[in-house]
């Protein structure tokens, strides 16, 4: 027979080419989205902790200030995780027998540290300094999300470099008055940009984009 291919082969082959292109494109798109997804960044998922500590309850509920536990947030690179001691300040008075709190009491008795799972975790080659941000009007919730509404803390932002850059390029989108920095729940005012601009000037918040700002 002379014909090598049937009539339909024409449409088929042309269609298949189009299909191939489409598949390729969608694969790229998937990768693009995957790299930004919570799966890759770890955002959005709370972890099991030795004690199901609720920021929602302690901040919004009881109204404890961030700095009561995260003592060095204004002065040091690390905000610091409170020692068991701090918990016991209250819990030696209240909920003294709550089974939930047994690990805390045990840690206090034995001096064995509680081992928490790190939630907001930057790679070791990125050097973030809490004090530098807090003192320039960058609020806790800007990076940590509405912490005051979280029963269990989860990573709220991607913590990817492009996310850092977004704020370092235009801080005015996020700056807030210093007295609101520690607000556990905070929503930007309608005129955020305008307020932000003012604060930027007032606090001289001029973030740097040089590599050595965060990498050394």
């Amino acid at each position: 027979m002379a014909q090598l291919f049937p009539k339909q082969a024409n449409g088929l082959s042309q269609a298949s080419i189009a299909a191939g292109a489409a598949v390729g494109a969608s694969v790229l798109l998937t990768l693009f989205l995957l790299a930004r997804s919570g799966y890759a960044t770890g955002a959005g998922t709370p972890y099991d902790q030795p004690v199901p500590f609720s920021h929602n309850h302690h901040t919004t509920g009881v109204g404890i200030d961030c700095r009561y536990c995260h003592t060095s947030v204004e002065t040091s690179a690390s905000a610091s995780i409170p020692p068991t001691q701090t918990c016991m300040n209250c819990h030696s008075q209240i909920w003294t027998f709550a089974p939930l709190l047994e690990p805390v009491r045990q840690s206090y008795r034995t001096g064995e540290s509680l081992e928490w799972r790190k939630v907001n975790d930057l790679p070791d080659f990125a050097y973030f300094n809490h004090s530098a941000h807090v003192n320039k009007g960058v609020g806790c919730t800007t990076c940590h999300g509405q912490i005051g509404e979280m029963p269990l803390v989860f990573q709220a932002q991607s913590l990817q470099m492009q996310w850092c850059l977004a704020c370092h390029r235009n801080p005015e989108q996020f700056l807030r008055p210093k007295n609101e920095v520690m607000a556990p729940v905070w929503n930007p005012p309608a005129n955020q940009l305008e307020v932000g601009m003012k604060l930027k000037a007032e606090y001289q918040a001029n973030p740097r984009l040089s590599c050595s700002t965060c990498h050394r």
Binding site: A2, Q3, L4, F5, P6, K7, Q8, A9, N10, S13, Q14, I17, L165, L209
Partner: protein
């Protein structure tokens, strides 16, 4: 060039033909008539005469590109160059645009004290993208214009064709879709041109 370049009137003419072709009822039984010639001279002469006889839907087949045949069949014009030009321009804009945007707008960095817009350094990549896009334009354009991929075609129904066309035989095909086509008359004409055979191509 012996004939004038591609004029608007010519364009109009081509478009009309295209429309006519689209409107013309798809001949069910037969695709057209095929005549086989054993040497270059005959097919070229044949082509000229068929054209002279006013046939439009004529195509010639030769195992290698034959200027004279193409000429006779007035198939000189091609859109490929235009597509290539488009590709080239796109390539350059895409290349240089990416460089300018990423180095000057998106994340300007002081690199070795060079200006953000180091246009001198931006030329080589932009040049390469230009070539790349243009080349793809040429190839994809050619394939598209030839309607490739097109593994099935009526002419392959002729056994001899599949042996000879790509080796050493020459063919002339007048499509049934041609307004002037009529099985008997056209076949007469072809026979008169000294082919080795004339055959009807089943669609």
């Amino acid at each position: 060039m012996s004939e004038p370049g591609y004029t608007p009137s010519r364009l109009l003419h081509d478009l009309k033909e295209l429309a006519a072709w689209a409107k013309a009822p798809v001949p069910t039984g037969v695709y057209g008539l095929m005549a086989e010639f054993s040497n270059a001279d005959d097919v070229v002469t044949a082509a000229r005469q068929v054209k002279a006889a006013g046939y439009r839907k004529v195509d010639g087949y030769s195992p290698y590109p034959m200027e004279s045949l193409i000429h006779e069949l007035e198939q000189h014009h091609s859109w490929v160059p235009t597509i290539v030009l488009g590709g080239g321009l796109t390539g350059f804009l895409a290349g240089y645009g990416l460089e300018y945007w990423s180095q000057v707008i998106e994340y300007p960095m002081n690199i070795g004290g060079r200006p953000f817009h180091s246009w001198v350094s931006f030329i080589p990549p932009a040049f390469e993208t230009t070539i790349l896009f243009a080349s793809f334009g040429a190839v994809l354009g050619m394939l598209a214009l030839n309607g490739f991929p097109r593994p099935y075609h009526p002419v392959f129904n002729i056994e001899e064709f599949t042996k000879g066309a790509s080796n050493d035989k020459f063919y002339l095909v007048i499509e049934a879709a041609d307004p002037k086509f009529d099985a008997a008359g056209t076949s007469e004409l072809l026979k008169s041109l000294g082919p080795t055979f004339v055959r009807e191509i089943p669609a």
